[in-house]
């Protein structure tokens, strides 16, 4: 009689039955193929395709088919707000204008500024926090959970409520800065000034995503076995030396993984910045995705923006590939 309860099955396995894997194979081999099909239901190969198929279909319909459509549109002058106008092929004109457009390069500069500073600050603060939490003080679990909260929130809602905190007259941020530095609170506008707005989005992103880097660094720190430090201790290596030649190199692959994920995410940043500054003032915080949205859904230059979308996709894909190679290199060292 069969026992359907997995724990009982587990117990069966735990008994010194000689290699259950071969047992199963032998049982299968002993049965003629045609009969096995009837008795044992579908073949493994059929099940594999049956199980993977629906996921692949969904991804093909919602990701790949649209991607191919974007590629096709990128060679035309199609405008989504004029569906009845004649569509002309324009060759690679859209790509040429994307790559020579000054506004696009401004957006790329804004994106680069945003990427560099968010990743720099998040790695610095995130690693420091992880290092401190790894000292295992009383209550570190609770405080770690508190620190993690911002990264779970909706980026759009976060962008919206930081717009409130950044209000020059009434906002808490200006008040705190004024209180700490003595500058009048109404003398500066975080999201209204061309000079400060790029930093306003860096601050919010750092507030939100530092816990992410922290969590990955913490896993890296905890993966270092104690005996390595014990051996170093025996060799009388100084704490400083231990940090540089044990801690840092062993955590590096984890830091790089965090940087990879943050890099991809922030390269395509849209929601938080769209609600905080919507690219303004002027185009001071107009990141690539925001330019793309303006071109595609405000100016309705569908063909042109499709070309830009493809350029962005190739860029993110290429960078990720190079980065993964570097990551594997560090890991296998």
């Amino acid at each position: 009689m069969l026992s359907p309860r997995p724990e009982t099955l587990g117990a069966v396995v735990a008994k010194p039955v000689p290699r259950p894997a071969t047992l199963a194979t032998r049982a299968a081999a002993a049965t003629p193929a045609a009969l096995a099909g009837k008795v044992r239901g579908l073949s493994d190969r059929a099940i594999a395709w049956l199980f993977i198929g629906p996921t692949m279909l969904l991804l093909l319909a919602i990701n790949i088919f649209p991607l191919i459509w974007t590629i096709r549109l990128s060679f035309t002058n199609f405008r989504a707000n004029r569906p009845n106008a004649t569509v002309l092929g324009v060759g690679i004109d859209n790509y040429v204008s994307v790559l020579t457009d000054g506004d696009i390069w401004l957006a790329m500069q804004a994106t680069a500024h945003f990427l560099f500073w968010t990743i720099f600050l998040q790695t610095l603060i995130g690693f420091t926090l992880a290092y401190l939490i790894d000292r295992r003080f009383r209550g570190h679990g609770f405080w770690t959970t508190v620190i993690l909260i911002p990264m779970m929130l909706s980026p759009a809602v976060v962008g919206n409520f930081w717009a409130f905190l950044y209000q020059p007259q009434i906002g808490l941020f200006n008040y705190v800065v004024a209180w700490l530095s003595g500058v009048p609170a109404s003398s500066f506008e975080m999201i209204g000034s061309v000079r400060l707005a790029p930093w306003a989005i860096v601050i919010v992103d750092t507030w939100m995503w530092t816990p992410y880097v922290m969590l990955i660094c913490l896993a890296g720190l905890r993966s270092i076995p104690d005996y390595i430090y014990e051996a170093a201790e025996v060799d009388r290596a100084s704490a400083w030396r231990q940090f540089w030649s044990i801690t840092l190199p062993m955590v590096l692959p984890f830091v790089m993984l965090a940087v990879l994920f943050r890099g991809i995410e922030n390269f395509r940043m849209f929601d938080m910045v769209n609600l905080l500054t919507s690219g303004g003032p002027g185009s001071a915080t107009e990141l690539a995705s925001i330019t793309l949205k303006r071109e595609a859904f405000e100016k309705w230059r569908t063909g042109y923006s499709s070309a830009f979308a493809i350029v962005l996709f190739v860029a993110v894909f290429g960078m990720a590939n190079i980065y993964v190679k570097a990551l594997n290199h560090v890991k296998n060292r």
Binding site: P6, L9, G10, V13, P20, A21, L23, R40, D44, I47, A48, W49, F51, I52, L58, L59, N63, P66, L67, W69, T70, L132, I133, R135, F137, W143, T145, I147, I149, M152, S154, P155, A156, V157, N160, F161, F164, L165, I170, Y175, A185, W207, I216, A219, R222, Y229, E233, F254, R268, F270, D271, N274, L275, S289, K293, F297, S306, A309, F313, V316
Partner: protein, 318 residues
């Protein structure tokens, strides 16, 4: 005995003073990081004039005006008109009349919140359902080009959402799926299924194959073994994955703002456009934000053991 190593614990344990110093710095950071969030929750209980006072008020008389304004639409009336009305029927009615207004009807917040719930749960069920099957196949069977397929699945998540939104906008317009809940459920499922496959593959990899093989020796078919042995063993992983999918769908904004405008609009594009007389009604926005974020706070606490896995697509497991 040598003095340096008399302590019972390992030599690499940090000293008590180091611990206190590290602890205080982390607690300080945690307190600072929680201030913006605490401020929004406080603001949701302020009156509009308290919310925009300078210096910012920490102590104030709590008011339900923010929540009332969130759930109702109001129209301004003359004092004579209000005086001639029958007595206020509810608390929010009274709050509105004190501000010289009359409640005109319910606001759109509840329908938007319900849309968020339906779309988040619908897409989670679909993506976890598809994900667990694909993950099982990738974990147990020899699939040709397995690594390439897995990488392909992951790469679909790297695309900038706005880039995919252009053709999806056109496609949904053709199919009549724009601004429908079904359209959003399918779209979010496609985005989440990559996360589900990667996470669940990690969880299923950890279940010993011998369990199913023993069951199959006992006469179970592969499908029965999957249903009755693997699925119960993977419950924790399935629940954790489902919560991650829920959170993503709950928080998503880019597709929602471009593809929905009315019947299927979710809360994230709606909250920022809550306006009162003369600009944003900050207490109402804060109230909407607070209610929207509360479920996430609960989920964060529930998920904390699996967070690391979830945010790295199962690449780091601890």
């Amino acid at each position: 005995m040598h003095r340096g190593i008399t302590t019972a614990h390992s030599v690499v344990e940090p000293g008590p003073r180091m611990r206190v110093a590290a602890g205080s710095l982390v607690v300080l950071y945690a307190l600072i990081t929680i201030v913006p969030l605490a401020w929004i929750i406080l603001t949701s209980f302020k009156t509009p004039s308290d919310a925009i006072s300078y210096p910012p008020k920490v102590l104030f008389t709590p008011s339900t005006e923010g929540y009332c304004n969130l759930f109702t639409t109001r129209s301004r009336q003359t004092p004579e008109y209000i005086a001639a009305l029958p007595p206020a029927t509810g608390r929010c009615d009274q709050v509105a009349r004190n501000a010289g207004m009359v409640v005109a009807g319910p606001s759109n917040y509840v329908p938007r919140f319900v849309n968020s719930l339906i779309i988040a749960f619908g897409s989670t069920v679909l993506s976890v359902g598809l994900g667990v099957m694909a993950a099982y196949a990738f974990s147990r069977f020899k699939v040709p080009l397995k690594d390439d397929l897995l990488f392909f699945i992951l790469s679909t998540r790297m695309m900038p959402p706005i880039a995919v939104a252009i053709p999806i906008y056109l496609m949904y317009r053709e199919l009549g799926l724009s601004d429908t809940r079904l359209g959003m459920i399918v779209l979010y499922s496609a985005v989440n299924v990559s996360l589900a496959v990667w996470l669940l593959k990690g969880f299923i990899d950890e279940i010993p194959r011998e369990y199913e093989e023993a069951a199959m020796v006992d006469g179970y078919t592969r499908l029965q073994a999957f249903r009755k042995v693997v699925l119960p063993q993977a419950t924790t992983g399935i629940v954790a994955t489902a919560i991650f999918c829920l959170i993503f769908a709950w928080n998503e904004y880019a597709f929602a703002v471009l593809l929905t405008s009315g019947t299927a609009q979710t809360a994230p594009p709606f909250i920022p456009i809550i306006i009162g007389e003369g600009g944003q009604d900050w207490p109402a926005v804060a109230a909407g934000t607070t209610l929207f974020l509360l479920p996430i706070l609960v989920f964060t606490v529930l998920l904390r053991k699996h967070l690391l896995r979830g945010i790295t697509f199962g690449a780091v497991r601890k």
